[in-house]
């Protein structure tokens, strides 16, 4: 066993043991604990759990690598995935918490109509499922690279552990496990970043010190046939319009994703929901502010490492990662003249975005324990997100569909819990199969999940809270047109749905179409609501009541 394998086993077994212990301690008995942890989660803990839930395999493993190659335009992910929290904190979370139910479909069901609830429940399942498969796959990559297990067993082992604590502990178990997972993943992310920053610039604050290497990185990038890191609108073909729209879509999608919104139901009060959003973004920002620095440092070390080296003198990480097929050196190359992340580019060295973070300690020449910690961090990110998503799938399937549509009456607590757990177990089994053989659309999870959330959920949630006149007919029409508009453009531009890919219209990429879909949804919901009867008096009263945290106390004089 190599040093790296030893340390990986060490950290993975240690952290998995902690998660299982926490899950056992917080196992639950009733549905309120199962779905919203009895609304008794302290604010800071809830914030850390939201952060772990939010930061998926894509944030941990993929994002810095993407930024390394996108350069300046990597900001679409940084701003998009954090800016959405501002919308969530100011426009949605406190009001949805005041509403006080378990799920997003439940809110729209009460606020609009039963048909909106069903559409929302189905959309929540589809979005969450796409996302969960990506996590299974990310977990599998970690296992197969660091432990030498094959990908199938990697996915099965990760899923078995998630199954154990999600089914046993429900939201309560998931929340406290996620707090532990956040600690693991942020430590694993920051330690190598600080070490590399110190080693390269002498300043151990990566967020500040990566400014120092930008000029050198720009020059090296050009030398290897890449665009400058600092040049705006060079990384995405659509230029400024596309950067604008992708940022907007990711923000609106973030604010509309069911597995994020559901977390604000777990706080004790409306005030707690506001502070939870703050802590969540605070914890998230620690990773997101570091990611561009990790991207820049890793790219610099990578390019410096291969510069002028003949093929037999290349750094060792190229060979070890070459075994995964994610790093390839072109045949017949003597010294590396060009580098790319795009397999079709014909460059001498092709490096897949997804390995840059996991390989960054090796590329930077850091010791084996740090590499093992990195693997545990990647697993924590994948598992915490998967667990949160599985809970959404389970609650939408059992709480919003089964007990509302099929078996309307007479379900005891015990039955509801059983159906919730069975739905979760079924989702995990399907996710294992899909994680081993990912359907093609999973590669487009960003475009798909965020575009869908932005164009379906966000507008009707916002209007549902701020505009009393919005009604069920309007919301149904808005959601469906938003959905059809957005998915039609995705099918038109992406190859993955079995159709050919066409050129982007006006440079708008499929990741950016969700923002326009949201506008379509807003317009349709408003126009149709205006043309049809207003919602009932009771519904309007409910909308009014969620604007105030609680009844006024006697004697309060203003």
């Amino acid at each position: 066993m190599s040093d790296i394998q030893f340390w990986t086993f060490f950290f993975i077994i240690l952290t998995f043991g902690i998660y299982i212990f926490i899950a056992w301690r917080s196992r639950v008995k009733d549905t309120k604990e199962f779905y919203v942890a009895s609304q008794g989660v302290p604010t800071i803990a809830n914030g850390a759990a939201v952060a772990a839930d939010w930061m998926s395999a894509a944030s941990f493993i993929g994002m810095a690598g993407l930024i390394a190659f996108l350069g300046s335009d990597g900001s679409v992910y940084l701003m998009g995935w954090t800016g959405g929290y501002v919308l969530l904190a100011l426009l949605l979370a406190p009001y949805l918490r005041k509403w006080g139910k378990f799920t997003v479909p439940e809110f729209v069901g009460d606020r609009y109509s039963e048909s909106v609830r069903i559409v929302a429940a189905v959309a929540a399942i589809v979005v969450s499922f796409t996302y969960v498969v990506g996590q299974m796959n990310g977990g599998g990559i970690v296992f197969s690279r660091f432990l030498g297990l094959n990908l199938t067993w990697g996915v099965v082992v990760a899923a078995a552990i998630i199954f154990f604590y999600a089914v046993l502990g429900g939201m309560k178990g998931i929340t406290y496990t996620q707090v532990a997972q956040y600690s693991v993943l942020i430590t694993a992310y920051l330690i190598p970043a600080v070490a590399v920053a110190q080693q390269t610039t002498g300043i151990p604050v990566p967020q500040i010190s990566y400014g120092r290497i930008l000029a050198e990185l720009d020059a090296l990038s050009v030398e290897f046939g890449l665009h400058e890191f600092t040049e705006a609108f060079a990384g995405r073909d659509g230029g400024q319009i596309d950067v604008f729209l992708v940022t907007a879509s990711l923000m609106l999608g973030t604010a509309g994703l069911p597995h994020v919104i559901i977390r604000f139901y777990t706080t004790k009060t409306v005030r707690g929901a506001r502070y939870s959003a703050f802590w969540a973004l605070f914890f998230i920002s620690l990773l997101y502010l570091t990611a561009p620095a990790v991207g820049a440092f890793t790219k610099l070390n990578l390019l410096q490492g291969v510069r002028g080296a003949t093929v037999d003198q290349l750094p060792a990480w190229i060979e070890t990662w070459g075994a995964t097929g994610l790093v390839t050196v072109a045949d017949g190359v003597n010294t590396i003249q060009s580098v790319s992340n795009d397999a079709a580019s014909g460059a001498d060295l092709i490096v897949n975005n997804d390995i840059l973070v996991l390989a960054s300690p090796e590329i930077g020449g850091l010791p084996a324990p740090i590499i093992g910690l990195m693997a545990a961090g990647g697993m924590a990110a994948a598992m915490s997100t998967a667990a949160g998503l599985l809970l959404v799938i389970s609650s939408a399937a059992s709480h919003d569909l089964y007990f509302r549509v099929i078996k309307k009456e007479g379900a005891s607590e015990g039955q509801q819990m059983l159906v919730g757990r069975v739905a979760m177990a079924a989702a995990i089994v399907i996710a294992i199969f899909a994680g081993i053989n990912p359907p093609a659309f999973v590669a487009q999870v960003v475009a798909f999940a965020f575009g869908l959330a932005a164009s379906t959920f966000f507008p009707i949630l916002l209007l549902g809270i701020f505009w009393k006149r919005a009604n069920g007919v309007g919301a149904t029409a808005g959601m469906l047109t938003g959905l059809i508009f957005t998915s039609t453009y995705m099918i038109y531009t992406l190859e993955v749905f079995g159709t050919g890919s066409n050129d982007h219209i006006l440079g708008v990429s499929p990741e950016g179409i969700g923002a326009i879909g949201a506008l379509v949804n807003f317009t349709v919901t408003i126009v149709v609501s205006k043309l049809t009867a207003p919602p009932s008096h009771e519904v309007q009263e409910m909308v009014e009541s969620i604007r105030y945290p609680q009844q006024r106390k006697v004697g309060a004089d203003v």
């Binding site: 900001s75 500040i208 705006a232 004790k268 009060t269 920002s285 105030y548």
Partner: protein, 108 residues
């Protein structure tokens, strides 16, 4: 539901005769929200996307300023915006007597 139980407490608050406080409360909330969203838009879409190229001509600690806003400054601002919103809403809640800090007890 905790809220419902609170509202139906016997001898609790009588229904409000004067609901004008609600309108004033809501208006203050909206005004705060709009100011903060304007800042949100300016630092991200303004500095980080629309004006990034002219701003890049200024350089601080090696960072072109537009790039810094796009990758760092906007995120710092977002965190601050949410904190300011939570703190300010506490003040508004106190002013109108709808604070949740006491009442059902939790300092959530």
């Amino acid at each position: 539901m905790a809220d419902a139980a609170y509202e139906s407490t016997p001898g609790g608050a009588p229904p409000d005769q004067d609901s004008s406080w609600r309108q004033r409360y809501w208006k203050k909330n909206l005004r705060l929200m709009i100011v903060l969203l304007a800042i949100w838009f300016t630092v991200s879409f303004g500095f980080g996307v629309l004006l990034i190229e002219p701003m890049n001509s200024i350089e601080i600690l090696g960072f072109p300023l537009g790039l810094w806003f796009a990758q760092q400054g906007s995120i710092y601002t977002f965190v601050l915006i949410i904190l300011v919103y939570a703190l300010w809403m506490d003040r508004i809640d106190d002013e109108f007597g709808v604070s949740e800090r006491n009442g059902d007890g939790e300092r959530a």
